[in-house]
Amino acid sequence: MSQPILNVRGLVKRFGGLLATDHVDITVNPGEIHALIGPNGAGKTTLISQLMGELKPNEGTIEIDGRTVDGMPTARRVSLGLARTFQITCLLPDYTVRDNVAIAVQIRQGHSFRFWGDVRRENALAEEASTYLGTVGLDGRADELVANLSHGEQKQLELAVALATKPRLLLLDEPMAGLGHVESQQMIEILSGLRSQVSMLLVEHDMEAVFALADRISVLVYGRVIATGTVDEIRDNPEVRTAYLGEGDELC
């Protein structure tokens, strides 16, 4: 098998006495959607924050495409092809939908020490932003202010902004959380359409989405990965059933 795009070994994060990440090993292979599931408080978002370099792990090492990124600031990791979406949407509220994506394109293109030209008149930026908005189905809302978007649209915009950085690995932090059934279906379709372009680490509670999308699933409980395997393996794993699926055996 080719080298994994993400390789995490022995990652540990402590908050005081709490072990939020407990010797986590996880890999994502190129072209793969690897789902990470687990009950609330299992440390899924903490793990993503450590992968992005927003939080510093106490132990362990993270490799992106064979390159160790420990100690690297977030901006460098993004330039190596890492991008995330936020569970609680984190967008630029005073900007329009298009501007939110265009600024990501601008930053990807390199430094922003340009003081004279009007950025709103750079058609290339706006056009590229429009293609990402098209991918997530927001092209009709490009001139709307972010503050006026519905929750579902904000989730879609999160994805468009992440895509604008041209990532090789997308870290998706509960992209379906708070979405209605129709919106969830739409998001599953979008993500499944992106499968060929980008590998994903998908943190999600929506089991329907996970089973529809994931190539492999890891189960995180109390900061520890208790099982990793294909969809069927995880579904039939008794330990996982008691720890996580439990009584919620029925799918949605």
Binding site: E54, S79, R84, F86, L92, I103, Q106, I107, F113, V119
Partner: protein, 327 residues
């Protein structure tokens, strides 16, 4: 469509009014108007510079008087060495040429902003406010104790800097020079605000977390914004020293930082011309209220309270709403 035409029209009429102002002052015999207007322009530059980090960038600096004062002292110190005929530090000749002193003031205050910013920007929030305040106070006490340059009493600049072909002893000429520099300053600021650089600065104010997640190394951009802002305040300080023919530690005092902040808030945080309007309101109010009572700050405080509580965005926003409603 209507508003897009209204704004330039308003801007042009304000510029015409400012150009005609000395004639009006002469005609009405109210000559103090011109010195009032000059101060408004100069403080407008300083407040707009502060607003670039405070309003656009979300970095609440409480030490911008430092750069204002440094700009003033650069003019004052260069003038003192010019009049005494002995070079500064033994090798920098003094000068009274505006074309040298003003750029020098901008460069020196920019360098100071780079040093202060590099240290302060490692923090954020309240710590940032306190550290910028602390640096400004350190510089204040430095200049108070610098007996060579007047110490407590400040530096008297016997004559305003010279500009080839112009008579800078004439108040009207000084006003027009300040007006031209102000216009140039606002054109540059307008371009920067709308540039790629301005785009990331405004983005940083809205969400630093988001900007990091799309790959922006925030520190260097914030530092650059801080330096630009310091340079603008240095420019204003240099003009003020020329206008008052005086540079003193008062220019660096923390109350001056506070005044600049009040101007920004009065006029409209995060708007291009808000701080200039704020400076005008502040100085006119100061003059009017001070002619009635010694405790003019009380009146100003009440008005500031009203503006903050009820205008939602300063005098500029209030004007826009009244104007918009009528139209």
């Amino acid at each position: 469509m209507e508003t897009s035409l209204k704004r330039p029209a308003l801007l042009i009429s304000v510029v015409i009014a400012l150009i005609a102002l000395p004639l009006i002052a002469d005609a009405t015999g109210y000559t103090a108007l011109m010195s009032l207007a000059t101060r408004v322009l100069i403080y407008g530059i300083a407040a707009a510079s502060l607003n670039f980090v405070l309003g656009y960038g979300g970095m609440v600096s409480f030490g911008h008087a430092a750069f204002f004062g440094i700009g003033g002292y650069v003019v004052g110190i260069l003038y003192q060495h010019y009049s005494l005929g002995e070079p500064l530090l033994g090798f920098i000749p003094g000068t009274n040429q505006l074309l040298i002193t003003v750029p020098a003031a901008i460069v020196v205050s920019g360098l100071m902003a780079a040093v202060i910013g590099a240290l302060s920007l490692r923090t954020g929030g309240v710590q940032f406010i306190m550290i910028t305040l602390a640096f400004a106070q350190m510089l204040f006490f430095l200049f108070v104790s610098l007996k060579t340059y007047g110490g407590d009493d400040g530096l008297i600049i016997r004559r305003a800097n010279e500009l080839p072909g112009l008579n800078m002893r004439d108040k009207q000429t000084v006003y027009y020079v300040c007006l031209a520099i102000t216009a140039l300053f606002f054109v540059i600021l307008w371009r920067i605000v709308n540039s790629r650089f301005g785009n990331v600065i405004v983005g940083l104010r809205q969400s630093e977390k988001r900007m990091a997640a799309i790959g922006l190394p925030a520190y260097r951009y914030k530092l650059m914004a801080f330096v630009i802002s310091g340079m603008g305040c240095g420019l204003a300080g240099a003009l003020m020293a020329n206008f008052l023919r005086f540079a003193s530690p008062d220019m660096l005092h923390w109350t001056k930082s506070g005044e600049l902040m009040v101007m920004v808030i009065l006029g409209g945080v995060g708007t291009l011309f808000g701080p200039l309007i704020g400076a005008a309101v502040f100085i006119v109010l100061e003059t009017l209220l001070a002619s009635w009572t010694e405790n003019w700050q009380l009146g100003l405080g009440l008005i500031l309270l009203f503006v903050v509580l009820y205008t939602q965005g300063g005098v500029q926003a209030l004007g826009a709403r009244l104007f918009g409603r009528r139209a």
